[in-house]
């Protein structure tokens, strides 16, 4: 789960991280109110859940009331990578002497939370990772001890020489680690963390993602969820026991199992088609699930053919076939559907499906080719 920058700032503040003040605004009128008698430099920042808003013009400095209001007028309603900007923050701007990167992430390899810091802060950190990986310092944190004082200090010394700054930065790292652990984060970034000319370290922008599997024990984080349309669809699917991600193609897929679902998409591509989605219905022959999945799938107007790919394991193919028949009874659609059944009791299943008149096949490759062919009619 992702949250907005303003939400990350609120969490940071709660834990005592040094964050400049900001006001959240939903309209130009609110911005006008927030910048009344403006006597300092502020920055108006779009609040969207996608990256790259700076390049898209979603971040603007303003020194006067009029300039701030004008900036907000331009930013609010703007489209950034498909997201419409509905909120901005007006934050105190600070003088920046130097920018740094600080990030915590779950590290698959080290099987730990890893702290990453770099003196090359700002938006280009991914590029740094590609071109100069040695400029990013990593420290896998032992979960049994947490980030010890001396370890935090060691990492801070990679960014600063002045011991006062080292202590400030080390304190920030430890607080960020506490936030990470206590909120079940999967990512907690301060980028940039900045040094001001008067030798203060501040967190200027924050980004946090959370572990969906841990939301059950994070009610405060869950309450922050503000999903966009696509995500709402994914969340809705998840609540129905389905895993759905919309893509750009025209062949809808319904598969049991995530790996098989990905392999199915790959197969469609391999034979010259274009998958419209990833959709994993998990391991059940429940007809309702098939109905739900089909409804979600067909709500995408791009879909011109559907490929159902089921490998029967513990769930037997004849049971799955019965579920499909029941489900297809309630779904009325003109979109052509091809069904592939394989594995346990596949033959019985395919025989049962004959009554539906749907084209059935027994291998993935055939199914993919057939779906592509049907989509072109």
């Amino acid at each position: 789960m992702k949250i907005h920058e303003y939400q990350a700032r609120e969490i940071f503040k709660k834990y005592g991280l040094p964050v400049p003040n900001h006001v959240l605004c939903h309209s130009v009128a609110e911005v006008k109110e927030a910048v009344k008698n403006l006597d300092r430099l502020v920055v108006v920042k779009a609040q969207v859940l996608v990256g790259g808003r700076g390049k898209a013009g979603g971040v603007k400095l303003a020194k006067t009331e009029a300039a701030a209001v004008a900036a907000a007028g331009q930013i609010l309603g703007m489209d950034i990578k498909g997201c419409q900007v509905e909120k901005v923050i007006v934050a105190d701007a600070v003088d920046i002497e130097k920018e740094y990167y600080v990030g915590l992430i779950n590290d698959r390899n080290a099987k730990s939370v890893t702290l990453m810091v770099s003196a090359e802060g700002g938006v280009e950190i991914e590029e740094v990772a590609q071109t100069n990986p040695e400029l990013i310092h990593r420290f896998p944190i032992n979960p049994q001890t947490g980030l010890l004082d001396f370890q935090a200090r060691d990492m801070a010394m990679k960014l600063f020489d002045d011991m006062k700054l080292v202590r400030q930065a080390a304190d920030i790292f430890q607080k960020l680690y506490r936030i990470f652990i206590e909120t079940d984060s999967t990512l907690a970034e301060i980028n940039p963390m900045v040094l001001t000319p008067d030798k203060q370290i501040l967190a200027i922008d924050g980004k946090m993602n959370f572990d969906d599997n841990a939301l059950y024990r994070q009610p405060e984080i869950l309450a922050m969820r503000e999903a966009d349309e696509d995500e709402l669809k994914e969340i809705d699917a998840k609540e129905k026991g389905l895993s759905y991600i919309k893509l750009d193609g025209n062949i809808g897929c319904m598969v049991n199992g995530a790996g098989l679902a990905m392999a199915t998409m790959d197969m469609i591509k391999l034979y010259g088609g274009n998958p419209a989605n990833f959709l994993d219905i998990g391991g059940s022959s429940n007809p309702q699930k098939v109905v739900d999945a089909m409804n979600i799938l067909l709500s995408d107007k791009n879909v011109q053919a559907v490929m159902i790919n089921i490998f029967g394991g513990i769930t037997r193919c004849d049971d799955v076939a019965r579920g499909l028949i029941e489900a297809l009874d309630t779904i009325k659609t003109d979109i052509p559907i091809v069904v592939r059944l394989s594995g346990t009791n596949a033959e019985e299943g395919l025989a049962l499906l004959e009554q539906t008149g749907l084209p059935t096949v027994s291998t993935m490759s055939e199914a993919a080719k057939k779906a592509i062919e049907l989509s072109k009619r």
């Binding site: 990256g51 990030g103 992430i105 779950n106 590290d107 698959r108 390899n109 099987k111 730990s112 939370v113 890893t114 950190i125 991914e126 990772a129 990986p133 990013i136 032992n142 979960p143 049994q144 652990i181 079940d184 999967t186 990512l187 970034e189 980028n191 980004k207 993602n209 572990d211 599997n213 841990a214 059950y216 024990r217 991600i245 893509l247 598969v255 199992g257 995530a258 790996g259 098989l260 990905m262 392999a263 998409m265 790959d266 197969m267 469609i268 591509k269 391999l270 998958p275 990833f278 391991g283 490998f311 029967g312 394991g313 513990i314 394989s342 594995g343 346990t344 291998t363 993935m364 490759s365």
Partner: protein, 293 residues
């Protein structure tokens, strides 16, 4: 031989009185696995399918000598169940539970290491040594005893491949579903070492997915340490690149975890990568033929 489990494995089922636990305990027993005990706090003294139920893993181990445990408890309690098995001296734990918080896994990892416990999963289908022991939720009937070692991050995709192998007459030594979670137990490197050392395994199939860099690491390991033929398949070549975890996700894997990079790594290690699952038996046959020359 085979790896990890065999006909001497004495299995404990944690959460045996739950819906899934009971269902799969029956399946595993039917297959011939030696299911010696179950646990369910408060139901100690009962019996399920003729399997004695204990309140604690410790009691179960002391009474029955169980050395392997499979976990069916709900995700919020899975990490604790794994630790209970570990502290009770279980050697190998297979965690089927799906949806375990990542930080739970990170917290238990050093404890398992200290206790010398091997873990498979969580969120995995389990493993099987055909005709000896089925430990998990895999459909036993599609497997066939033989000499191919297979490991995979996927569930049904594994069955798909196994089904093809079996239909091509290629039986399996041991098939391991390592699970799809970001932080998990045994992974490619440990299993590659085991397969390499297992006299019963003649060739290895590795089924990977996008995300992380475990496949790249496996490729490097194979180039250096594995002399047996290996064939790979990567799922997710067309998956959308947007679905990853911000800047740091890309940084940490020192690569972006794309299928393309993984396939390149395997190519560099001399491991053929199947374009679609149905190619795997053929690629294996070619590799085996070359190896026997």
């Amino acid at each position: 031989m085979s790896i990890l489990v065999n006909k001497d494995t004495k299995l404990l089922v944690q959460g045996i009185t739950g819906r899934d636990g009971q269902f799969h305990a029956a399946r595993m027993k039917e297959y011939g696995t030696r299911v010696v005990a179950g646990t369910s706090p408060g139901k100690g003294g009962a019996s399920v399918l003729g399997i004695p139920v204990f309140n604690t893993v410790d009691e179960a181990v002391k009474t029955t000598g169980a050395n392997t445990s499979i976990i069916f408890v709900p995700a919020p309690f899975a990490a604790d169940a794994i630790l209970e098995a570990s502290y009770a001296g279980i050697d190998l734990v297979i965690a089927i539970s799906e949806g375990v918080p990542i930080l739970d896994m990170i917290r238990i990892t050093p404890v398992l290491k200290q206790n010398g416990t091997k873990l498979i999963g969580p969120n995995c289908p389990g493993l099987i040594t055909p005709d000896e022991a089925l430990i998990g939720i895999l459909p036993g009937m599609i497997f066939k005893k033989g000499n191919i070692g297979l490991m995979s991050r996927s569930g049904t995709l594994t069955y798909e491949v196994v089904n093809m192998l079996t239909h091509s007459g290629m039986g399996q030594s041991t098939v391991v579903g390592i699970g799809g979670d970001p932080v998990a137990g045994l992974y490619y490197l440990e299993l590659l070492e085991m397969y390499q050392n297992d006299p019963e395994t003649e060739a290895i199939v590795l089924i990977g997915e996008i995300g992380g860099d475990a496949e790249e690491q496996a490729a490097a390991y194979i180039a250096k340490h594995v002399t047996k033929p290996v064939v790979a398949f990567i799922a997710g070549q067309t998956a959308p690149p947007g679905k990853r975890m911000g800047h740091a996700g890309a940084i940490i894997s020192s690569g972006s975890g794309t299928a393309e990079e993984k396939m390149k790594a395997f190519a560099a290690a001399g491991v053929p990568v199947a374009k679609e699952p149905s190619e795997i038996p053929q690629l294996l046959a070619e590799k085996l033929a070359k190896a026997s020359v």
